[in-house]
Symmetry: C2
Subunit: 313 residues, 2 copies
C-alpha cells in the first residue's frame, strides 16, 4: 500500500466533513468563527503510551482522540474538528489502520468531531499526533489554570487512580479488573462536565499527569496553594477492592492518565455548582480547597510522594 491508499483506508471510517472544511487540499479550511477557538495537540506513541499487547487498534484510535478531547473539556470548549498525523512502522496493514480509524471515528461521532485532514509518515513506532479545535460557547470565557483563589472548593469530574492501577497491577503480574483496564485504554473525555462547570469554575485543568502534579500547575498559575484530604479522594469501588487503601490513595494522588477534570469553584457558588452538575446526572467529587500557602498539602502536610506521571521521565 502506498501513502495515498493508507490515507484512504484511514479516512473511510469517518463521515466526510461539510464544506468548506475537508481533506484533499494542502490545508483544511475552517469557516469564520465568531467565538473563541481552543486548539490543542497531543501524541500517543507506541511503547510510551501503549503497547499492541495490551491495546487493540481500536483502543489506540479511541485513546489518541480521547486525550485531546480531555484538553478541550478542561477549557469548557465544544469540540469541532481534528487533524491526525500518523507515524506508521513497516508492517502495519490496511486492516489494522482501519481498526485505528474505527476506534477514533466512533468517539469522534459521539462528540461531533470532524476529521479535516492529516498526514502520514513512515516511523519506527506507531504514533498518532492529533490536533483538535473546539469553540467556547458564545458569551463564555475559556477556563484557565490561573483563576483559582484561596477558599475555592476543589472538585474532580470522576474517580482517580483507576488507569494507574491497571498499569500497577499489570507490572506486578496480577489480574487487572476490566473496569480498570478500560479506564486506561478507553478513557471517556468529560466534555459535558466541562461545559456544565464552566459558568461556575474559577479554574480548570485536565488531570493527565497525576492529581498533585496537575493541581500544582493550577496553584503555580494562580499564585496559590491547595489542601487535599486523603479520605475525600474519589476512589472507584473496583480500585478499593483491587489494592490496599494506601496504594489506592497513592495512585489517586500521583498515578496519572486519569483524564478527569479538576476545577476550583468559589465557595459561595459551590452549592449552585453541585446542583447544576447533579441536574445533568453527572458527579462532582469534592476533594479539598485552594489555600494561601503555596504548594499542595495532603492532610495538612506538604506532599512528599512522587511528583506524578511524566511521559518523558
Amino acid at each position: 500500500m502506498n501513502e495515498f491508499q493508507l490515507i484512504d483506508a484511514f479516512v473511510a471510517a469517518f463521515h466526510p466533513p461539510p464544506p468548506p472544511l475537508g481533506p484533499g487540499d494542502d490545508c483544511a479550511v475552517l469557516p469564520p468563527a465568531r467565538a473563541l477557538t481552543c486548539v490543542t495537540t497531543d501524541a500517543l506513541v507506541e511503547g510510551v503510551h501503549f503497547t499492541r499487547r495490551t491495546f487493540s487498534f481500536e483502543d489506540i484510535g479511541h485513546k489518541a482522540l480521547a486525550v485531546n478531547l480531555s484538553d478541550l473539556a478542561a477549557m469548557g470548549a465544544r469540540p469541532r474538528w481534528a487533524l491526525c498525523a500518523l507515524g506508521l512502522p513497516d508492517g502495519v496493514n490496511a486492516t489494522e489502520l482501519r481498526a485505528v480509524a474505527k476506534g477514533m471515528a466512533a468517539l469522534a461521532k459521539v462528540h461531533g468531531v470532524e476529521l479535516l485532514g492529516g498526514n502520514v509518515t513512515r516511523a519506527q513506532q506507531l504514533s498518532l499526533t492529533l490536533t483538535l479545535g473546539g469553540v467556547v460557547p458564545p458569551g463564555r470565557q475559556p477556563l484557565l489554570r490561573s483563576g483559582a483563589r484561596p477558599g475555592d472548593v476543589l472538585y474532580t469530574s470522576g474517580f482517580l487512580g483507576d488507569a494507574a492501577a491497571a498499569l500497577h497491577l499489570a507490572s506486578h503480574r496480577r489480574p487487572v479488573p476490566r473496569a480498570l483496564a478500560l479506564a486506561q485504554r478507553r478513557p471517556s473525555p468529560h466534555l459535558a462536565w466541562g461545559l456544565a462547570a464552566a459558568p461556575f469554575a474559577s479554574s480548570a485543568v485536565d488531570v493527565s499527569d497525576g492529581l498533585v502534579q496537575d493541581l500544582g500547575h493550577v496553584c503555580a498559575a494562580s499564585s496559590a496553594g491547595a489542601e487535599l484530604e486523603r479520605v475525600a479522594l474519589p476512589l472507584s469501588p473496583t480500585l478499593r477492592e483491587a489494592v490496599p487503601p494506601p496504594v489506592a490513595q497513592r495512585l489517586a494522588l500521583s498515578g496519572g492518565e486519569d483524564y478527569v477534570l479538576l476545577v476550583s469553584v468559589p465557595a459561595r457558588r459551590a452549592t449552585a455548582f453541585e446542583r447544576a452538575v447533579a441536574k445533568r446526572h453527572l458527579d462532582a467529587h469534592r476533594i479539598g480547597r485552594i489555600s494561601e500557602v503555596p504548594g499542595v498539602r495532603v492532610d495538612g502536610l506538604p506532599f512528599r510522594g512522587p511528583g506524578g506521571f511524566q511521559h518523558r521521565p
Copy 2:
C-alpha cells in the same frame, strides 16, 4: 531534565504570543476570526526526512516549520500560529533542543508565526509534528487543487530538483554543492508568491512529492490532464552544472521536496499574472498547460518515470 524543563528550553526561543493566545493552559485560545482559516499538519521524522549527520539541529527546526508554511502558501493564506508536538529520544539535551527551537523561531519571526503551544513525548526517533493555522486575506477564497481548466497555463514559483539532487549526489558519494544542500535542508516557503498568485490562479498545490505526482493530484481533483515540456523545466544553474541534463530533468519531474508552488492560471490572465509577480520581484516559471486528456504528459507522451517521492514507500 524533566518534561517541563524541556518545554521551557524550547519555548524560550520564541517571543511570547499576545493574549488571548498562549501556551500554559490545556489549550491555546484563538480570537474570533472573520476570515477563513486554513489549518495543516505535517511531520518531520529522523531517519525518514532527515539525519543528524547531514542536518544541524537548527536545520531540523527550520525545515519542520518550512514544510508546513509551504502548505499555507499553496492555499494563498497568511500564516498566524503554530502548535509543535515533539518526539524526543533519550539523550537529546537542552542545548540541542534550544538549537531546534532557534532554527524554527528564526523562520517563524520572518513569517509572523506565533508558537501557541505544543506537546513533548519520549520517542525512539526525534520528530516534530507541527500544526499551522493561517488566514485567507479578506475577500479572497483559498486556492484549491480542483480549479484547473483545460488551457490554463502552469507556473512554478521556483526551481525544481535541487533538493532531490542533494540526496542523489550524497547517495552516490559525490560532493553536494552548497546551494543544493541548502535547498534540501533549508527550504524557503513561498508565502509572498502564494499571496501574489491568489488573485489569478485557478488552482494551486505545494510541490513536495515531485512535480508529476503533485500535478497529478491537481489533474485528478480538476478532472483534467496536463502537458509539460522538458525544455521548460526550471533548473537552477547549480543543478545544471552538477548532473547531466537527463538526470536533472528526472529529478525536476519526480524528485520531491521542492517546496515550490505550482499554480494554474487561465490563459487570458497569464500576462497580468506574470506582471503582478514581476512587480514583487518574484519569479514565475512557465512549465506547461492544463489539457483535456487525463494524466500528466511530458513532451506529448504519458509520463512513465517514477511516481514521485513518498515518505512511506
